[in-house]
Amino acid sequence: MAMVMASFRIVLHTNTYNRFFHPPTLSTWRRCLLFSRAFSTNYNYSVVVKKDERLGKRTENENSNVVNSTTIAAIVTSLGGPPAAVGIVRLSGPHAVSIAGRVFRPAVRNTWQPTSHVVEYGVVLDSDGNVIDEVLAVPMLAPRSYTREDVVELQCHGNEVCLRRVLRTCLEAGATLAQPGEFTLRAFLNGRLDLSQAENVARLISAKSMAAADAALEGIQGGFSSLVRSLRNQCIDMLTEIEARLDFEDEMPPLDLNGIMDKIQHMSQDVENALETANYDKLLQSGLQLAIVGRPNVGKSSLLNAWSKSERAIVTEIAGTTRDVIEASISINGIPITLLDTAGIRDTDDIVEKIGVERSEAVARGADLIIMTVSAVEGWTSEDTKLLERIQSAKESTGSSTPVILVVNKIDCKPSAETEWDKGCHSHKIFSKQVFTCAVTSQGIQDLERAVLEIVGMDGIAAGGRRWTVNQRQCEQLVRTKEALVRLQSSIKEELPMDFWTIDLRDAALSLGQINGEDISEEVLSNIFSKFCIGK
């Protein structure tokens, strides 16, 4: 009988048991080994992640409680407002200390040995060893930090140029640019913040990343977007050429190695140039871009001249004088601003003027803020409505929400307009603000500046400007691409086999990828099948 009893085993009915869900605690998130205990409590399967035994029993990164393995960095103080005395670059993640250690030199000792919550004075150096800024480094080691990860804050001078250069140095030292709200997200996932805050975080994250993804998809990134796209396409093309030969060796002509190497050389040069000419500091100098648009001869150029206190633009009575885009730099409360005077938008047969009109529309699309100018004398005309529709349709197609300020100019010629304007159902909801000016006497320019500041404050541009943050992202993409291409070139130089090239090409394509996840393998495969006649 004992033998009979021994031949039975009690088995849990997994079907019902699985419904009895215990959310995994932090400790169960650790790397699951074969038949790991962590899993057996909740799931009736074992995940196998055996490593190659030949690689040896390395036990690196065994801090298994860490949810995130990347270290993120961002400027956490607000930008774009009046310059602050101090700005902060925050690093968070398992490598925060080692990355900070790479860029930060304390004043007294040569190497930085951080003590949690002890401030140290020193400098941030770039990769060539040049001093970027004097900073205070504040290490806050896990779990006694906002995110419960290792956090290092570098308190820099409030100057945006400095802050951006410090951030870029951190990115080059291995940090990843933080997504909007990512510090808060990590804080929540690591057990900080309460539940009610969680919902808000979720909404914030999904809204922001959706917007970012939309922007990426719509291709309105500006800045380097066309370069990034073309670099990515080149990577995918090369991967297609190489991978086709790896999977279908005897059906393909041999690869043109020299062609590939030339292409890689070209790409690295492009990336290099882009990072060189349009690096952070220069981007920053361009600041916010304000496009002045309107019908011909409503006084756009006069407005530019008045605002910039210069005679940059030629002003005449002839409609269509301005043919090209004219720039003038001003500063409102310390925010660098580029004014862009454009050709009056109208249907025209003049070839030169036509190009000017097209440029105006392009500038309007690319600007952070649009100033639509109308003439008080003529009032709101049907052409104005048409023009507005053109801007709006451009905006709809790009999905952007560039704020528009309505400027009623030449108020001196018709002072009554100021009171009549609102009655005449000219007030369109699309305008964020409405200002009356007289460019000739500079009347209303201060109002206009106030309006710009209010919009900057309320529309989130204070956080650096949407176009800016996206460009920051592109810059990171280019930095990563550069790293991958450097590795690729050294692989080629060391005459490593072709398969090794794909590793870095994939890395490059990934870092040049859009914000939403993409399946490079599938893309390469469909390219292969559409391009080459393959298949036995």
Partner: protein
Amino acid sequence: MATVSFTLHLCRFGRNLCNTLFPTTSSITLLNPRRRSICFSGSTFSRRFSTVETSSSSRDLGYEFGIVDEKYDVIVVGGGHAGCEAALASARLGAKTLLLTLNIDRIAWQPCNPAVGAPAKSQLVHEVDALGGEIGKIADRCYLQKRVLNASKGPAVRALRAQTDKREYAMLMRNVVESTPNLSIREAMVTDIILGKNDNVEGVSTFFGMKFYAPSVILTTGTFMSGKIWVGRTSMPAGRAGESASHGLTENLQQLGFETDRLKTGTPARVDIRTVDFSGLEPQHGDEEVSWFSFDPDVHIEREQMCCYLTRTTSTTHQIIRDNLHETPTYGGWVEAKGPRYCPSIEDKIVRFQDKESHQVFLEPEGRDVPELYVQGFSTGLPERLQLPLLRTLPGLENCSMLRPAYAVEYDYLPAHQCSRSLMTKKIQGLFFSGQINGTTGYEEAAAQGIVSGVNAARHADGKSLIVLERESSYIGTLIDDLVTKDLREPYRMLTSRSEHRLLLRSDNADSRLTPLGREIGLIDDRRWKLYQEKQARISEEKKRLKSVKISGGDLAADVTRMSGQPVKNSSTLESLLKKPHIQYGLLDKHGFGDKNLSRMERECVEIDIKYEGFIVRQQSQLQQMVTQQHKPLPEDLDYYAMINLSLEAREKLSKVRPQTIGQASRVGGVSPADITALLIELEAKRRKAQGQRMYKMMNAIQANTQDEEPKVCLTETTRPG
């Protein structure tokens, strides 16, 4: 509220006991009284089997005739490449296994290309072998020709391809299947799945009314489920030419709530080798130094190799096809099912790549003593009357005679998102799918799924946890992860570009990645395990030696400098020499610095480990970083539709796929990183809520206790939820 229920279940211990006492368990007809008594008492205690017993009306009578033997642990339906691996794995794990096939003479048949391996596919074969599977050994034993592809393109894409003797292959595999203990074979056409009370499988019933019982059933139906073959406009129900299709099972599965769909594939004509003039054709010889799929040296026996030949399409070929496009199923428009992109018919190639004047066609022998020649790259949907004229346009085939026409086959498959990564279906416990039924193509892909489902079916029958091979662990894992996660619309073939981590998933390290697992599961016997351990010891010993031995100057240094174009410093280690470009282990051998006791495979391992160490370590640490987050498990009962922060598309897709980990969720099409973030937040919120509730309950319990003890003290105010 779910309750945890217990059932008693006849365990392997008891069966093994029977097996030990009476070793001839397979096909027992004479019942041993002692064995019967054990089984009988088992059935009275076992709730799972009790329904089975009563449903069998002639049970008492049946005992006398031995019908009790129709109870198994695992039933495998189908005897192809998936079915054989599954049945072998299951039987080798000690499960009493039944292999049901439509035709015993067609076990492990190669109905299409008589070849095993090629890029990515050979990695699958090595991996199945490393786990203790059979496909690699059989291919090694019956090869006609072997070639290493991508030899100079990197260790991760180096691939072995073997032309096999089709009849010998089937015969050898059949012998292995027939001689494996615990494994019975039977001809039958399965038409129904027998279900238990808890959405679990209890067995299968056949066309002729037989019922076979088992807690695990694996379906490997290949192209047979409602199969239909086409030549031109003419079609007939068949799984393969000359073999009847299986009917009824699709309808049964649909009734059980499974979604089915249809796929198409094809095979080219076979011509008589004696009617082909090879004199003007480019020969393709096998490698002089033969490589092997299996890590088991017992099957490394060299044989004489046969030659393949290369011919090309001509302008007449193209003309005939262009003139008769309306006669092909695709362009005539009477077959809608899409064929695979990597296996286009000759008419597809000519239509899609019009500027290409000629396409390669390979002529491959199908065996040593059969006259059949496989015309690779020349599959077509043209009617039979046009096929011979078309073949005769190829140089060398001007006077050929055709033995079998090319045909296409359409069949039912079950989109694999209905399986979890253990290959058990999500709907029905104990039911597994493997091979073409999951939408794959290829013998290697089938074998890879077969061994996983075989292992898991046996483990399920035994009440053990199921094994999931993670994507990052192997090509097998990558294959299954793709199948169950992605929305596939064509037959799935393994390709090297499908694996993001292929540098770590090489054929040379398939054993060091998977053989320890095979040992833990129980598929690697003591002999193989000893061989494995000795090999690893030799490799690591040699790596140590190369690190410590230093040379200064001499012939070796001079040769290295000349070949690599790099200077050799004084007292360089042999390891550092091996890291230089163009320097291979053979050079050390030449100068007497190599270890003569190492096999060629072992030297290759040493060389790869040293030469590409930097890359491999970098990939490994990148992987490690990723894995921490990706392998975070997702509960199976998540209500994705209730998660308003997910995009609509993500809610739909995730509800359909029901991924097991965050990483798998992120690979589902239409799920963006923002969705993954939202998902992480939901999980954490859920965890906190549950934690809060537990706390609350605990407080209440404490309160209740305190109230019992000290009824005068009122604690309600402090514990009332705010």
